[in-house]
Symmetry: C3
Subunit: 449 residues, 3 copies
Amino acid sequence: MHSPAAKVSGYVVLMIVQIIFLVLFWLFVRYEKTAMPLAIDAEDAGSANEHVSKYPQFQDIQVMIFIGFGFLMTFLRKYGYSATGFTLFMAALVVQWAVLMKGFLHMEGGKISLSLENIIDADIAAAVPLISMGALLGRTTPIQLLCMSVFEVALFAANEYLALHVFSICDCGGSITVHAFGAYFGLAVALMLRPASDQNEAGKLEGASYTSDIFAMIGTTFLWVYWPSFNSVLADGAGGERAILNTFLSLAAATVTTFVVSALVSHENKLDMVHVQNSTLAGGVAVGTVCNLLLGAHGAVLIGIIAGTVSVLGYRYLTPWMTANLRLHDTCGVHNLHGMPALISAIASAIYASMATVGEYQSELQDIFPAMMGTNGTETKIMGGLGRNATSQAGYQLFGIAVTLLIAIGGGILTGAVLKYTNFRNLKKDEHHQDEHYWEVPAAENKEE
Amino acid sequence: MHSPAAKVSGYVVLMIVQIIFLVLFWLFVRYEKTAMPLAIDAEDAGSANEHVSKYPQFQDIQVMIFIGFGFLMTFLRKYGYSATGFTLFMAALVVQWAVLMKGFLHMEGGKISLSLENIIDADIAAAVPLISMGALLGRTTPIQLLCMSVFEVALFAANEYLALHVFSICDCGGSITVHAFGAYFGLAVALMLRPASDQNEAGKLEGASYTSDIFAMIGTTFLWVYWPSFNSVLADGAGGERAILNTFLSLAAATVTTFVVSALVSHENKLDMVHVQNSTLAGGVAVGTVCNLLLGAHGAVLIGIIAGTVSVLGYRYLTPWMTANLRLHDTCGVHNLHGMPALISAIASAIYASMATVGEYQSELQDIFPAMMGTNGTETKIMGGLGRNATSQAGYQLFGIAVTLLIAIGGGILTGAVLKYTNFRNLKKDEHHQDEHYWEVPAAENKEE
Amino acid sequence: MHSPAAKVSGYVVLMIVQIIFLVLFWLFVRYEKTAMPLAIDAEDAGSANEHVSKYPQFQDIQVMIFIGFGFLMTFLRKYGYSATGFTLFMAALVVQWAVLMKGFLHMEGGKISLSLENIIDADIAAAVPLISMGALLGRTTPIQLLCMSVFEVALFAANEYLALHVFSICDCGGSITVHAFGAYFGLAVALMLRPASDQNEAGKLEGASYTSDIFAMIGTTFLWVYWPSFNSVLADGAGGERAILNTFLSLAAATVTTFVVSALVSHENKLDMVHVQNSTLAGGVAVGTVCNLLLGAHGAVLIGIIAGTVSVLGYRYLTPWMTANLRLHDTCGVHNLHGMPALISAIASAIYASMATVGEYQSELQDIFPAMMGTNGTETKIMGGLGRNATSQAGYQLFGIAVTLLIAIGGGILTGAVLKYTNFRNLKKDEHHQDEHYWEVPAAENKEE
């Protein structure tokens, strides 16, 4: 009777994409030297492999991507299969694509060197379309999501290269390049796919059930717990330890603030699970870009307090306003969890950069702000000449977020237009937020509820 | 109509507490040297940071605190938001407070040095009020819980200092200072808040649903899996490896024993999920204080068997008796999971200490029992003179648990009195074990069930 | 009225087994030297303990065993207590038994040396009966399961010794010795316990509910995320890094393929949660035996694509056929997740072994294929003389899987016969897939649904 929610042809295209990946891996990817056997006459360096010392942090990030994001999105009452399943599907596709895309930007001798570092980067890249998915949750087909993620990751890799290697901004925890990019890209797509004005009211399935809210807490708590690994994985030495400490404290302060503000602004002063599931994590985003800087414990806590407050107020006032006035639904409220906290992080990075001195950062200055030291490595093309001063670096931080927003929003609008006006199957209003259009759902259950 | 279950003023007080923390962090806390940049002319020590080598274990403990405790307490059918949410709220507040409180006891030059070690300690401290929360689950407001946790952690830090640095007891896995303290403090508070004698019967919400029981198993299994990290994180070298091995074996033996004893003593020989969720973990508590000693595999297994047996029998016979006769509800049965197994651990520590010799422990004796070696470090003030003998050390182990019980129960009674007789809102019987008094609960769901 | 589903006598026997373990630990097990105190006059080697460097990977595997397997099996609508509970029960029993059984094969001076390595091996051994449990899920009593696991682990240890130390096959991730053994042993037991031909239709409880399917995704995602740790834990250096990379890529490719093939072959092109929960993991099994070889990224991706395809087709066509024609129910479809992908892995290992050269593997050849180098260590008894050539090694790989299948199926038939025809209580058809026969299930809930 009714047409299936996802076309077969879409799945076939995804299979072809997978096979193209296979061919590209075959043509371009080789193990890095550290993952190759030692020459038979080389001295044995022992069994310890320094190059996998980040493996525990990689695993923490894996949990964040696959369990954290997946379960955070199970809060919708009838969309749990899709939340966990499509997260797995999208992440599995994106990690391969990210190895290739990011690899193409750093090839040596026409080959991509594959090591643990590449799959850490790939996991971080997978966060980007998963954030965007949060803005669209329940209102696209899986085919649309997957195709979006392929476009998005390519743009993300380009923007990240620009921000880190051309503008030389600092962005240790990726709030600018990952969170802001993912959030605003997703919001732009959502804007393009927004409902007609006579279909703007929230559907009854656009909410949680008691059980689905608890499933979502699995996602929240794992993201909370492992966030220090996400922020610190690309930092080394003392900077890595600071990234851990600052992220931990910012999260803790954001969490306390979230509960308090949630109670103060909510109906009957009851706590709201949406705030608890999401705004508690805003501290991790807001501290991201600056997590390895010399914030001090108080700096981290202050950022957390601001992030928790802004995020809860966003959920309480801004999101309903955007739904009513812009018809922008933002199902998971990624603007409040990723978007605004990332802007806070970018602003904080400009403030701290403007105060950075050699006297304070000593030997780390050239790692954290390479353009300020005049030691441009082989890959770093410093804009604005050598030996940027602190004020100039602060300006570049703001420039970095501005360019990121531009590329993300522009790319999102284009992608959204492609998803809407080309041959993709678009969901109708009454097909939103329901697993049963793409999944075989247990029959009895389906009737009961 | 009805007054909200938590007063706004309480949340405001918590916000003020958070801001006081911010000020204290600003005044007193500085990064430790390991987390500060190297001088620009210092030789680069490489990217490896020895000081974060415990990071993977820290992350395991984070999972135990936030996911383990949180989900273990979701077993009540209508209290899952509170179990997971208040765990997050309390732990986020306590970790900050613990960094400060424990820091004040170890200041250098008027400042607290912040490093990974401090937040490991803070996570361990967070376990203490979470254990107490288990005894009170569903019968307090969040404001009461949070205020309790602030008092409790201050007392905990003082008692821990006394036990470890004044009495010089061994307590590697914290069964005395963490588990016994948290359990008996919580029970003392519960005794103060106990219902009037005509309201003593268990409410219909004081039980599990099929789904909530499975959610609780998430907590159980993560606690089970990561318990070796909790017990071993403060041990080094060979002692750390023994702590892992002994904890693992004790948990395994306690688990097998729990299932068998549960079937033997239960109605119709059916297994009881309460036992499976909790008593399986008693092996981790009971081996805690002695986990780095030379127990041998058989010693660890024996402790596990005893702990599993005692814990199940406690749930089956002692808890109902306490509810009926003392009106002490102990919602999660923390007396059976944390209290009695911690006493077993303390007794075991006296036994093993009484047999400790230099010949056996060699170079580790001074780490494990510093008072026995006469090498008193700067912080260790040995009571009873230098060079304690083994019998004397055994006596101090028992003295340590006795003082801990005294402080925990005394502190709990005082705290309970404050929560009951001052301006705090107390819950009425029919408000117990229900999320909907503090949380916005999905409307449809709420009507359905 | 009705007899309890598990006899008391069975539980008593298990307690006796636990006490026998205690005695065996006391008689035979001692800490390894690395876990013993240094002599008091020895130089301090620092606090770092090289011997626990695999601890983070051990913890990942713990999560796979206790959370991964446990929750993957919660997909049945009324069997969640048993899935999580019996996993815990079985694994706790088996890890102790595996330390002893595998220890007896490697004793030194009549004693088993206990170190972290032993409990890593024990966790891997625990996977074996858990895989078999998947084939039987819901159709045995816990006593039958536990007794089966005791037989099975003994046979597993013998077969593994034969394969690795006598035939000198490579099997880094254990697809042959763990996955194939566990799957075919379980299937053989299931065949022995198959229903009478007039009782062959699937019961209405042999399926998922909406909530139980999401619980199962907890298992799937944790297995997915930590699978690289399982495959790489026994590899060192560069081989370990390759094991991580290959497993990751194979899983990703298998996941994409699973979604696509699931949509293509399912009714109305809807996705099937059974495929998503299981076939996505087939990539981890199929790459297991060869994960440390020089597959290249494309090799790993190709194996993943094949595994995902075969696994989904197995669920869609082969399992229903086996149920209809052989009355073999295979509740979790372990044949599609573990059995066939393990065969693929064995065949791949023969292919890659046949192409292995010293020029390519350099110094690693003697670690990976010890029989090819003629350097037979103390334990390695090379069959077929010294210096096996590549073709011969390929033959041994196939011989290894053949012998494994023979022992697994033979042992499974024998064990199944013991479980069926001796004094064990067997479940009746209408007792299948229901927790309430062994568990106290919440009363209200039970009536409602």
